[in-house]
Symmetry: C2
Subunit: 141 residues, 2 copies
DNA sequence: ATAATTGCAAAAGCTTTGCATGGCC
DNA sequence: GGCCATGCAAAGCTTTTGCAATTAT
């Protein structure tokens, strides 16, 4: 039986509770890897040996639609997915294809208050994504 | 005969000067559209009716390697390309698939001085990309 | 019961690769 | 002349689509 939090998230979003959905959501909540659809499928195969990738994609699409998760773009045209917790940004290392969360409340505040003052003409801001691109050093990753 | 600036950029980067390369670079410098490879090919076809997409991709790869242009990612897994001028960020409207440059020196300064103070452990910053996601309103676009 | 979700197979879309031909330095 | 870039065709990968079968409410 699946975890209560997961079930609550699904029902709060008016989504039918299926074993596949709870499994996908559990994987996403358990990883901070920003997994790709394929990565997620690998984990799922522990419980669902034959789950089709297409199903994973369909589930991910629904979750993105509902705002439960976010798509994170990399520069090698593969989407990666991120369970939405609090606002955060990303450290991205193209070389090693690593994405790590970067929490920085102060920076968050700085940017959003700046943009609140500025107001960009003809544009309504929905979200702000900061990608700090660089290189992880010395961290056996 | 191609534009002098274009030729200088290519030779400064130790790239052989070919008609295809100068044409691609001219297109990129002329557009502020953040075109996809396909978009670029469309423009090129005015002068090279049969240029293969593969060639365009190869040229774009070389330019990205040299830092002449940047890849910009969207959320529909198609790469788009941006001639590198000064530092700027992007307004991105997923709905209309529009990307617009956003110049804001003050914000630039705010972020980079903040990150200079902070120093993120085990990470060497190479670049900062801010995507402001939202919706263009009332601007017949 | 019925509307939504899953599974499967096939297709679509973007991008890359390999190799022969041709062009730049 | 030597090496790099181009052109072409084919393949590769990720993601999407359609539809029948199954399942949740």
């Amino acid at each position: 039986m699946a975890n209560k939090t997961v079930i609550k998230i699904l029902s709060d979003n008016n989504l039918k509770i299926t074993p596949q959905r709870t499994a996908v959501l559990e994987v996403l909540m358990g990883l901070d890897n920003h997994p790709s659809a394929e990565n997620i499928a690998e984990y799922l195969r522990m419980n669902f040996p034959h789950i089709p990738l297409a199903t994973v994609y369909k589930i991910l699409d629904v979750f993105v639609d509902k705002g439960i998760i976010k798509k994170v773009q990399t520069d090698n045209n593969q989407m990666r997915y991120d369970f939405v917790t609090e606002n955060h940004h990303h450290l991205y290392c193209p070389e090693k294809e690593l994405i790590e969360d970067y929490y920085d409340k102060e920076l968050e505040e700085l940017i959003s208050s700046h943009l609140a003052k500025k107001t960009i003409p003809n544009f309504r801001i929905k979200d702000i994504q900061l990608q700090i691109i660089g290189e992880f050093i010395n961290e056996n990753k």
